[in-house]
Amino acid sequence: MTLFNWTRRAVIAAGAAIALAPMAATAQTPEGVLIVGQVAEPKSLDPAAVTAVNDFRILVNLYEGLTRYKPGTLEVAPGLAESWEVSEDGTEYTFKLREGVTFHDGTPFNAEAVKFNFDRMLKEDHPFHNTGPFPLAFFFSSVEETTAVDDTTVKFKLSAPYAPFLSNLAYPTGLMVSPAAVEAGGAEFGRAPVGTGPFKFVEWRANEAVVIDKYEDYWGEPAGAQAVVFRPIEDANTRVAEMIAGGIDMMVEVPPTALSQFQGDEFNVVEQAGPHVWFLILNAKEGPMADKKVRQAVNYAINKEAIVNDVLEGTAEVAAGPTPPAFAWAYNDALSPYPYDPEKAKALLAEAGAEGASLTFYVTEGGSGMLDPVAMGTAIQADLAAVGLDVKIETYEWNTFLGNVNPGLEGKADMAEMAWMTNDPDTLPYLALRTDAWPENGGFNSGYYSNPKVDELLESARTAIDQEERAALYKEMQEIVQDDAPWAFIANWKQNAVTNNRVENFSLEPSFLLQLEKVVKK
């Protein structure tokens, strides 16, 4: 037999082997087990130690906070605390805890556990403070003292009135972990999490899956699914392919360009506007942007409709001001976005004597909540060129970008892209628009915006206990900020997810958290 014949046989045999390969790939996912495609491997499952929405999506099913967001809203509702009282001066919060709640490890949830959680995060001398770092602990920096009054009563003493406190308790950073499990696990706690939620942790197979099971002794209504498996699939195209192939039942953060592949009966696309705002920080301290007219001109010159519809394929809405509409109660719906008006922009630039100005524009390659930053940046560059502004883009990888932008734009750039997702209408303007939040004071006001009236409104809003009063203050702040234009307000993102038709009762929350307790998988 000749060599060629041998080769031919080998080729035929190999072909047959491939053709007959196991067909398990098309097997259906099991009933009652929901498989979720995640955008990355979680960093940790310790709620106090993480900052990424990706991790929060798992955490909120394992843990609960003293308060929670009412489904479908950003309003605060009772969670592990049944009720609370706030002292007259707004500095003392007393919570009545739910009785008969146990952590998944069987230890009781009580006032001591609450105290342990906050002390661990806030007190540097706490024996388990070294299980951190706790990057978002500053959400609770106004907490001076946590006291366990009795088994079911816990009291927080604040250094000053702080209205966002209740809503911060509902944020993942405020979720309650089992003290016994922290004591046993130390720094490894984040890999073997124990909470009180409707699901309990089963296993974390590195880079493969996090598996959680229905917690049978849950105090509330039991979960609808037997188990949920979170699978990290980093590449968005691979995630889409896996969704189409049936390897996962649900995926989040569907790339806009892939949404059209999920039309039809087999899939459901779910959308939900959230507290997200995508904007340009404008350098109000120096250069052409120091003139309010130039900043307004930039707002008029950018075709935001085109960006949300063409670049983002309708997955966002045009932003009107610094506060996203998702904060319904605090949002000023009398504001309408700056219209696209290049002529008006040119006139304003002429008035300011800034025609033909050269600008440096920091653009990032990607990053949390940044949507499609390079495409958006070049669209903005083209719009500004159309009104005679010569914009030079400098592109940076996300971490480098933050390292450049957070310390302030002075001496470096005239504008920079930025996006924030927050849980309370206070957070973003307080951290990024106050005079006291200039970078040298440790804030995020990288464009050096300063308006004493805005400062005053924000300080009063955070100490006002009455929600209506707070709302009025925020609405006034939005009007001033829109007119001052320290930012170019571009877009509010609508988060999305796709499920297959075996998944029922699923909806996205405005909080960006993925609450799965009611979801049923057929």
Binding site: L3, A21, V33, A49, A241, A245, G247, N399
Partner: protein, 315 residues
């Protein structure tokens, strides 16, 4: 031979030290820092400075290098910030996965490449040679990640023969059959370019040998064609083919980076890409050092194999 191996091993030490110096200082030069990555958008310069101090990143660079090197020699590669676990656990676990993928791809490309080269040479200018040369040209020209996407669309989405991603079925998975099922597409995508290169070089190595006098003599003595080619010529040609295999092994491992991203294979390539974007300095350093050590070891194996086949190489 023993002293040759020892000599080669000793020569590897300065190489590894060089690698450690390079990777350490290159990582130090990359802008952006781990504290920022850990703190995210909420990173104030003050908090960044504090966390960097906690992580020991405020010490002088050279001091940090020696601390790192010293710890590494005792087996302590540090703790990954992004994974929140010991670097060595993460690196070894991931590296094992890469070896499975790259190993299968390497075996595949070695066998197919040599086979194709031998057939091509044996049938020089014949139909088989032309078909193989043409196919090889296409194989070399297609970027592996692109081929990977084509394979996913064709075999996973259209024909539903193989899974899209991962190493195992996520529910009730595991076992060699499941693994094999998940391996077919990524290993094939990874093997294609290397197969082409090996086929081309095997063909020319074989042609060179086939022109030698002793082959003519063997044929004249009436030795069968198959024995001439497989027994005489291939054995001689292997001396030139083995170093190529060694180089291709390196390419297969580095090519795995793209393939791991496309097929969501939890290997070291995927880990390094993520670690770099997370500025997880210790994880990148540990990963690169382990991969480099493996390369060096592999080269030694190739050299030794070559020396064993060819007595002219001084041992």
């Amino acid at each position: 031979m023993g002293s040759y191996i020892l000599k080669r091993l000793a020569a590897a030490i300065p190489v590894l030290i060089g690698v450690s110096v390079l990777v350490f200082f290159i990582m130090a030069m990359i802008p952006g820092d781990p504290a920022l990555a850990i703190l995210g958008s909420y990173a104030t310069p003050e908090n960044v400075a504090k966390l960097n101090a906690d992580l020991g990143l405020d010490k002088p660079l050279v001091q940090r290098y020696f601390i790192w090197l010293g710890n590494m020699l005792t087996g302590d590669f540090g703790r990954s910030y992004s994974q929140n676990k010991p670097v060595i656990d993460e690196v070894l676990g991931r590296f094992g996965n890469t070896l499975i993928l790259a190993g299968v791809a390497f075996v595949l490309c070695s066998i197919l490449g040599i086979l194709a080269g031998v057939v091509s040479a044996a049938r020089q200018y014949g139909l088989a040679d032309k078909v193989i040369t043409f196919t090889v040209l296409i194989g070399i020209s297609i970027p592996s990640f692109f081929l990977g996407m084509i394979l996913i669309i064709l075999f996973a989405l259209k024909l539903r023969m193989f899974p899209v991603s991962g190493m195992y079925l996520i529910y009730g998975g595991g076992g060699p059959v499941d693994l094999l099922n998940h391996l077919v597409l990524p290993a094939s995508a990874l093997a294609v370019v290397a197969t082409g290169v090996i086929a081309r070089l095997s063909r020319s190595a074989m042609l060179e040998v086939l022109r030698q006098d002793y082959i003519r003599t063997a044929r004249a003595k009436g030795v069968g064609e198959r024995r001439v080619i497989m027994g005489h010529a291939l054995k001689a040609a292997m001396v030139s083919i083995i170093p190529v295999l060694g180089i291709q092994a390196g390419f297969v491992v580095s090519g795995a980076v793209y393939i791991e991203m496309v097929f969501d294979w939890p290997g070291i390539g995927q880990m390094l890409v993520n670690a770099i974007s997370q500025r997880d300095v210790l994880l990148v350093q540990g990963g690169v050092v382990v991969v480099a050590a493996c390369y060096v070891l592999f080269n030694i194996v190739v050299d030794v194999a070559q020396a064993m086949l060819d007595p002219r190489i001084k041992t």
